[in-house]
C-alpha cells in the first residue's frame, strides 16, 4: 500500500512539474534571451482532448493531405499522429520557442541573424533517434554528427540537436548555425535562463501559451535599433534610451488561455525604476465621476475610457522625460516635413511629365534625379521653418504650445448608448414602358432608413477660457456652427454631431435628444450606470468593452446588410463580448484581453467548430 501511495504521489508530482516548462527545457535557452514563448500542452489538454481535435473533418483532411505528400514515410506519420510518445516525443509537457540576438554584432547583422530555437523535452533520446534513422535512412550516417554528449544534424540554416532528454531545433544564418547549436547544447546552468529566477517565473506561468520577456536585454536591442532609426535626431537631443530606462530586474509575461466560455490574454509588465514615480502618479488617475451622470444603467453597449493627467505628463516631459520628449518632437517634425516634401515631389514629377506615356525610361531616370535633389532642398528648407509653421498654425486657433497642454485634464470616456435612424432621401430611376411600348426612365425620389450607433463622449476641461478661444476660431473658420442653446454643431448632414460644455465637462455626441434634454440642461439620467460596465469604465487606467450580442440586437436587420454583414453575423453567432483593461498596481502593470464566447464550452473547441464549419462549407470534403 505504501508503495502504491508513493507511486501515486510521484506520478501526481511529475504531472504538475510537467504542466509548465520543465527545467531541462529551459536549460537550453541562453541567458538574456529577450523573447520566449512556451506552449503548455498538458494545461491545454486538461481541457481539450486530442480525440476531440482529431474528430474534426478539417484536421482529418489536413493529416490525410500530409500523409499523401509523405509517401513512403506515411506510416511513420500515422504513428506520430496517434502515438507521439512511441518516438520519444514528450508532448505533454511544454515546448519553448525562443528568439535571441547577439548584441555584439552591428545592428543590421544582429537583426538579420537572430537565434531562433525550439526546445522540446524528450522522454527518450534513443526512441527519437530511432525515428530519425527511419526517416533519414542512409543519409543518417552521412549527416548526423556525434559530439560530446549530444548529436547534431545541420542542413544549411536549420539544425537539430539532441541528447538523452532534450531536443532543440535551431534556425538562423548558415554562417552561425553551428556555433549557435554548440552554444545551446553546452550551456551551463549559470548561462541559461534557469539562473534568472524572474525570467523563469515569467515563462512558467500557468496557461496554454505563455510568453516571457526579459525586459533588460530587449531594451538593449531596442536601444540599438532606435539609435539607428532616429539617426541625427538622437544625436541632437543626446538621447540615450538606456539612460532613460532602468530594467535592472524583473521580467514581463503574457498568458494566453483557451478558457471555457472565453479566450483570455493576461499580461503583467515590470515598471522600470526610473519611470516608477511618473507611472505611479498617473496610475492614480481615474476618469471624472461626473460622467456617470450621463450614462444610463443598462443603456451602455460599448465603451472606452482612458484616465490620464496631462499636467503630470507635462511635468514629466519638462524634467526626467525631457530627452524622450525632445527626440519625439524632432522625429515627429522630420516625419511631418517628409510627408510635405513627398507631396510636393509628386506634384513636381507630374509637372515634369514623369507619368506621360511618351516619357522614356532614361527621361524618367533624369526626372527622378532632379526631383530627389529638389526634395533634399525642400526638406532642409521646411525643417528650418517647421517650428514657425507649428506656432502659426496653433496661433490661428488662439493657442500656443504651452497653453495647449493645459486645456484638457487628460481623461476620455466614449460610450455607445443605442442607435439612431438616419433618413436618407435620394433620387433614382424607375424604368417603365410608355404608351408607345418603349422603355424610358423616370426620375423618382426615394428614402431609406439606416441605423447608426448613437454615442456620447466626455472629457474634463482644465482651461475653459483657452478652449472657448479655440471654439470661437473654429466658428469663424466655419468649421463649427454655434446654436443659441450653446451647442457647437459640425456641418455634416444627418449625423447631428455636436459638442457642448457644461461646468468643466466637454461632451461630444451625435445624440440630439440627449444633448438638448439632458446635457445642456444639466439633467442627470434617471438611473446611472452600474455593474460590470461601470466597473470597466471607471476603475481602470484604460479600458474598452463591446457587448457584441446587445449591439447586433440593437442594429437588427441593418447589421445583416452591407459589406460587413458576413463578419457581423459571424461575430454575433460566436462571440458575446470583448473586454480590454489595463491597470497599474504597485510596481506592476496588468493588462487583460478577454473575448467572450456565446457558450460556456471550451473556447478552442468553439473556434474549431467555426473553422470546421467554414471548411466544410467551402470544400465539401468528407471522408
Amino acid at each position: 500500500m505504501k508503495k502504491v501511495v508513493l507511486f501515486l504521489v510521484c506520478f501526481a508530482l511529475s504531472l504538475s512539474v510537467f504542466a509548465q516548462p520543465a527545467d531541462r527545457t529551459l536549460s537550453k535557452i541562453p541567458l538574456n534571451t529577450p523573447i520566449m514563448v512556451s506552449f503548455n500542452f498538458s494545461h491545454f489538454l486538461s481541457k481539450v482532448s486530442t480525440e476531440q481535435i482529431k474528430s474534426y473533418e478539417m484536421v482529418q483532411y489536413g493529416f490525410s493531405a500530409m500523409k499523401k505528400s509523405a509517401g513512403k514515410d506515411s506510416t511513420i506519420l500515422n504513428k506520430l499522429y496517434s502515438k507521439p510518445k512511441a518516438y520519444g516525443l514528450e508532448v505533454l509537457p511544454s515546448a519553448v520557442l525562443f528568439v535571441s540576438y547577439d548584441t555584439t554584432l552591428s545592428t543590421r547583422k544582429m537583426i538579420s541573424s537572430p537565434l531562433v530555437g525550439l526546445s522540446v523535452p524528450l522522454s527518450s533520446g534513443k526512441k527519437f533517434e530511432k525515428l530519425l534513422i527511419q526517416t533519414m535512412k542512409e543519409k543518417y550516417l552521412d549527416f548526423v554528427e556525434k559530439r560530446d554528449g549530444y548529436k547534431v544534424y545541420v542542413n544549411r540554416d536549420f539544425g537539430i540537436a539532441w541528447d538523452k532528454k532534450n531536443l532543440v531545433l535551431i534556425g538562423g544564418s548558415k554562417k552561425t548555425i553551428d556555433r549557435d547549436i554548440t552554444k545551446v547544447m553546452t550551456l551551463p546552468a549559470s548561462g541559461s535562463v534557469l539562473s534568472n529566477l524572474d525570467v523563469k517565473k515569467a515563462i512558467t506561468h500557468k496557461g496554454d501559451i505563455c510568453s516571457g520577456i526579459d525586459v533588460k536585454p530587449l531594451m538593449e536591442i531596442f536601444q540599438k535599433v532606435m539609435k539607428e532609426e532616429m539617426g541625427k535626431s538622437t544625436e541632437k537631443s543626446s538621447f540615450n534610451f538606456l539612460d532613460f530606462y532602468d530594467y535592472s530586474g524583473g521580467a514581463s509575461f503574457g498568458v494566453f488561455d483557451f478558457a471555457n466560455g472565453a479566450i483570455e490574454l493576461k499580461s503583467e509588465s515590470v515598471i522600470d525604476a526610473k519611470q516608477k514615480e511618473f507611472i505611479t502618479k498617473m496610475a492614480k488617475e481615474t476618469v471624472n465621476n461626473k460622467f456617470l451622470n450621463y450614462l444610463p444603467d443598462g443603456g451602455v453597449y460599448g465603451g472606452l475610457s482612458v484616465a490620464s493627467n496631462v499636467s503630470i505628463m507635462k511635468e514629466y516631459f519638462d524634467t526626467e522625460g525631457k530627452g524622450v520628449y525632445d527626440s519625439i518632437m524632432v522625429y515627429a517634425k522630420k516625419e511631418g516635413v517628409k510627408k510635405l516634401v513627398k507631396k510636393d515631389s509628386a506634384i513636381l514629377a507630374l509637372k515634369e511629365g514623369y507619368w506621360d506615356d511618351s516619357t522614356t525610361w532614361d527621361q524618367r531616370k533624369a526626372i527622378d534625379e532632379k526631383v530627389e535633389k529638389k526634395s533634399e532642398e525642400l526638406f532642409e528648407e521646411n525643417l528650418a521653418k517647421m517650428d514657425e509653421k507649428v506656432d502659426s498654425t496653433l496661433a490661428e486657433y488662439g493657442l500656443t504650445l504651452d497653453n495647449a497642454w493645459g486645456i484638457f485634464k487628460g481623461d476620455l470616456l466614449v460610450a455607445m448608448t443605442g442607435t439612431k435612424e438616419i433618413i436618407d432621401t435620394f433620387k433614382t430611376y424607375d424604368y417603365i414602358e410608355n404608351e408607345e411600348g418603349e422603355y424610358e426612365y423616370l426620375e423618382v425620389e426615394k428614402t431609406k432608413l439606416q441605423k447608426i450607433p448613437a454615442f456620447r463622449s466626455f472629457m474634463t476641461l482644465t482651461n475653459k477660457t483657452v478652449f472657448q478661444t479655440v471654439l470661437d476660431s473654429l466658428v469663424s473658420k466655419k468649421k463649427l456652427v454655434k446654436s443659441d442653446d450653446g451647442q457647437y454643431k459640425l456641418d455634416v448632414p444627418q449625423l447631428n454631431l455636436s459638442l457642448a460644455v457644461k461646468g468643466n465637462v466637454l461632451c461630444f455626441s451625435n445624440d440630439v435628444e440627449f444633448m438638448e434634454n439632458y446635457f445642456l440642461k444639466g439633467r442627470k439620467v434617471e438611473a446611472a450606470l452600474t455593474g460590470e460596465a461601470k466597473d470597466l469604465l471607471f476603475n481602470y487606467n484604460s479600458s474598452m468593452f463591446i457587448d457584441i450580442a446587445s449591439i447586433t440586437d440593437l442594429l437588427g436587420e441593418d447589421a445583416k446588410k452591407g459589406p460587413m454583414a458576413m463578419f457581423t453575423e459571424m461575430a454575433n453567432n460566436n462571440f458575446s463580448k470583448i473586454i480590454m483593461t489595463s491597470k497599474v498596481t504597485g510596481e506592476k502593470s496588468y493588462g487583460v484581453f478577454k473575448l467572450g464566447m456565446k457558450s460556456e464550452r471550451n473556447s478552442f473547441l468553439q473556434l474549431m467548430d467555426l473553422a470546421n464549419e467554414t471548411f466544410l462549407k467551402f470544400s465539401g470534403k468528407r471522408f
Binding site: 433614382t428 430611376y429 408607345e436 418603349e438 449625423l495
Partner: protein, 217 residues
C-alpha cells in the same frame, strides 16, 4: 482647358471613392445607325458624403474639384465634342443639390460616337476604347473592353471598401428597327423597339455581360 478635362476625371474618381452611384446610358438609334446618346452619373445616394467631401481640399490625396471647376470641365468637354466630325448638339446639365450630371450629344454614326469618346479621354490612354459601339444592318452592340477593365482591376479591391460593387449601371436602347433578340438579361419592351439592361458594377468587374448585343428583325 485640358487641365479641366483631368479635373473631370479626378471628379469622377472622387465620386467613385464614395461607392454608391448609378450610371445610366441611353442610346436612341435611327435606321441608318445614327442617333443620340445620353450619359447620366447620379451620385444622389451618396450625396451626404459627397457634400462633405466637396467642402475639403482633398480626399485621400486626391484634390477635390470645386463646382466651378466641374462646370469648366463639362463646358470644355462640350466644346471638344462640338468640334468632332459627326457629333452635334453636345450639351450637359448639372444638379449640384443631388449631384447628378447629364451629358447628351447627337451622332451621325457609331464610329463618330466611338471617336468622340476617345477624344474626351485622350489624356488617359489607358481608358481608350473602354466603350465600343458597333452598328450594321442586322444589329447593334455596345462592348465594354475587358482588356481595359483588366487594367483598372487594381483599383477595384480598394473601391469595394466604399461599396462600389453595389453601384448600378443601366442601359436603355431605343431603336427605329424592331429588336428580334438581345443578349444577357436585358428586357425587350412590348413594342420591340427598346430594351433595358440593369446590372451592378460588380458584374462588370467580374467581366460578366460586358457586351450588349441586339439583333434586328
Amino acid at each position: 482647358m485640358q487641365k479641366s478635362l483631368i479635373l473631370i476625371l479626378i471628379c469622377l474618381s472622387t465620386f467613385f471613392l464614395t461607392g454608391c452611384f448609378e450610371l445610366l446610358e441611353v442610346v436612341n438609334l435611327n435606321e441608318t445607325g445614327g442617333g443620340s446618346a445620353k450619359i447620366v452619373l447620379n451620385m444622389s445616394r451618396s450625396k451626404a458624403i459627397v457634400k462633405e467631401y466637396m467642402q475639403r481640399d482633398s480626399v485621400q490625396g486626391v484634390k477635390v474639384p470645386t463646382p466651378k471647376s466641374i462646370i469648366d470641365g463639362l463646358e470644355y468637354a462640350k466644346v471638344l465634342l462640338q468640334k468632332e466630325d459627326g457629333i452635334h448638339n453636345a450639351d450637359y446639365s448639372l444638379d449640384l443639390e443631388n449631384y447628378i450630371a447629364t451629358f447628351t450629344a447627337d451622332f451621325d454614326s457609331v464610329q463618330a460616337l466611338n471617336s468622340a469618346y476617345n477624344v474626351l479621354l485622350q489624356k488617359k490612354p489607358v481608358l481608350k476604347d473602354l466603350f465600343v459601339y458597333e452598328f450594321e444592318e442586322g444589329g447593334f452592340s455596345r462592348t465594354i473592353n475587358e482588356t481595359v477593365l483588366g487594367k483598372l482591376a487594381p483599383y477595384y479591391t480598394m473601391l469595394t471598401l466604399y461599396g462600389i460593387q453595389d453601384a448600378k449601371f443601366t442601359t436603355i436602347v431605343r431603336s427605329e428597327k424592331v429588336v428580334e433578340e438581345a443578349s444577357g438579361n436585358s428586357r425587350i419592351s412590348t413594342s420591340g423597339k427598346s430594351l433595358v439592361e440593369v446590372k451592378n458594377i460588380k458584374q462588370l468587374i467580374d467581366k460578366q455581360s460586358t457586351q450588349l448585343k441586339l439583333i434586328f428583325r
